[in-house]
Structure formats: C-alpha cells, structure tokens
Amino acid sequence: ALSTDAFNYATYHTLDEIYEFMDLLVTEHPQLVSKIQIGSTFEGRPINVLKFSTGGTNRPAIWIDTGIHSREWVTQASGVWFAKKITKDYGQEPTLTAILDNMDIFLEIVTNPDGFVYTHKTNRMWRKTRSHTEGSLCVGVDPNRNWDAAFGMPGASSNPCSETYRGKFPNSEVEVKSIVDFVTSHGNIKAFISIHSYSQLLLYPYGYTSEPAPDKEELDQLAKSAVTALTSLHGTKFKYGSIIDTIYQASGSTIDWTYSQGIKYSFTFELRDTGLRGFLLPASQIIPTAEETWLALLTIMDHTVKHPY
C-alpha cells in the first residue's frame, strides 16, 4: 500500500507487511505516532511498539499488545486496525481525543514476531516463541506462561514439548523480557491489555489462584461495561471474570505479572469466535472483530483516564 488509507484491513498480512504499515503510519502522522524498538527476538527480528502521544514527558500510559500467541491471527490483524483507528479518530472523536490528551498509548501489534513468521512460512498452527531449550529437541516457550508471577506453579508445563511450556526461568523469552524492561523502566503504565483469541472472553487477574484480586469488584464492573459496549455493535456475546474462574488455572501469565506491578487495570481479551473456526477465523471477520473490540478498549481506556490512581 502507498498509504495507510489504501491498506487492506480485511485480510491477513505477513510480518513484513505489518512492519511496513507501521512505518507508513509513522510517516503520515509524525506528530502523533512514533515507533520504538524495545528489543530483538530470539531469531534477531526487531520488536516494535507504536507510541501514540500528543506530548508531555512520561505521561501515564495504556499498553495494548496483540499476537503474543502467533497463531491467533485475528489479534495482529485487529492491532493493525486499532492503530489506524487511533490516527483517524484523534481530534474527531471526543472519548479518544480526551484519552490521548491525557495519556499515551503503546501498541505492540506483533508481540511474538518469530512465531508469527513461522505461522506464515512453515506451520500455521504455531503458538509459542521459537527459542531453543538446551537438552530438548522441542522448540519454543509459551510466552503467556513465562512471566514472573507464580512462575512454575500449577497451570503451566515444565515439558519443553508442551504448548504451555513455561520456559527455564521467568522472563527467559526475550519477547517477554523486552516488555518487562519497558514497563518497569516506564513506571507509569496505568492499564495493560493483552489480546488473544479465541473464546469471546474478557478476563482479569488472577490466573494462578482463586483468591480474588484486591480490585476484583471494580475490575468486574469495568469488564461488564466493556463487554456491554462490545456487544452493542454486532451482538457478539462475551463472558467476563477472573482467568481462573472463567477458563482455567494459568501460572506465569501476562496480566498476573502486570497486576503484581501495580497496574490495576490489567485485562486479557479472547476475541472471536467460540470455536466454529477457532484460530482460523475467516478474514471477513477481521473488521467486525476489531470494531467491536475497539468499543471495549475505549471503555477501559476512558475509565483509566477518569479514575487516576
């Protein structure tokens, strides 16, 4: 595409195409968007994050990531759509404009670039990173079990061949460590939203214990509002609740770590569908999925701006 207006948001794209899209968006909106490289993957690819900012220094910020599990293609595709939506709506749509006038948004569209390239070139069903484990022929670590939150507890595997292999130690995956370093050095992230598919769920901490999170009531109310907004567009039904109560026990998960770092508004989405096509969601559903998810994101971001802590 010669411009992000001409970019096709209704099809799946390769890593190169997405990275070109990001560069194009930065070129078109230099006052609003910049690209930050927060690290390099196991195979040496850049890990890029888009920063949307209207100024200020180290403003409170909202983090959104898509595609930490590489085969969940609708999430990276939605991430691309979100990026464009932010640039289109800033200055036009009052809620987003107010958010960006007070906070920055960081968007990591391809959170597991090596895995994503592997899904395009070799195995469409690949989920994990592509790192090597000494003493095993099996490749990759589940980057959503590799965080330093109840690492190694039930809800993750110690078997390198498992799809939920936790890795040798917390943050062993550079794709995880890069975010950890970024979040800790930034120090002012107020909401952290990690986007997966599929199952149509909006989840909050905890995943490793059935103890309720200290902010459970507020998180539950906010999740309810976000899901209501999401459903209002196309009627898509979402369930919400804590990870352990809603799906299963998971240790070392992203938002358990971010919540432990004091990021109160920590959420995980599981986008469309409920299993008819699973990870193989038809491309015709990319835009409706992104549109409805955006309404939920907006609800969470708006609440974050209006409830400083």
Binding site: N8, T11, Y12, K121, T122, N123, R124, M125, C161, E163, T164, Y198, S199, I247, Y248, Q249, G275, L276, R277, G278, F279, L280, P282, A283
Partner: protein
C-alpha cells in the same frame, strides 16, 4: 509448509471431573500429537483439540469407549488453510 490434510478439530464435552481427567490422560500421550486449542479445565467447559489424521480413529475410539461425547468442529483443517491462503494471494495480486 506443514500439511494438515485430514486433521480434524473435535469439540469434547466432558460432563464430570472423571471425564475431564480421561481427556487429560490423552493430553499426556505425546505420540498422538494432539494440539489442544482449548485445554481440559473442568466439567461443562468445552475442550477443543486438533487431531492429526493418523490418530483420529484411536482418539475417537478412546472417547467413545469412555462415553465422552464429542462433535467435529472442523472437518479438514487443511481446506480452511487453503481457503485462507487463496484469499491472501488474491488480495496481494489485486
């Protein structure tokens, strides 16, 4: 490119904890090369699993033997992948 011809995605409905446990036993059998899209968690929650063609009969037989109900969600994974690829190529060509 890895081939998924004949791979099916089954939705398993375990009605009690004993059935969930049985499905977990399947998960442990690495030679079956099962890919759980939704892990066995608890009774009442659907379990989705991609089963490679060579093991599909044994997995179905195991489930039927233990009276665990299932339905086929995706008949042939490769045909969906072909569709996806075709669409991407068509857009690129355009």
């Amino acid at each position: 490119n890895e081939n998924f011809v004949g791979h099916q995605v089954l939705r398993i409905s375990a009605t009690d904890e004993a059935q969930v446990q049985k499905v977990r036993e399947l998960e442990e059998l690495e030679h079956l090369k099962l890919d759980f899209w939704r892990d066995p968690a608890r009774a009442g929650l659907p379990i989705d699993v991609r089963v490679p063609f060579p093991t599909i009969q044994s997995v179905k037989a195991f489930l039927e033997y233990h009276d665990i109900s299932y339905e086929i969600m995706i008949e042939d994974v490769q045909s969906l992948l072909d569709e996806e690829k075709q669409q991407m190529s068509a857009f690129q060509a355009r």
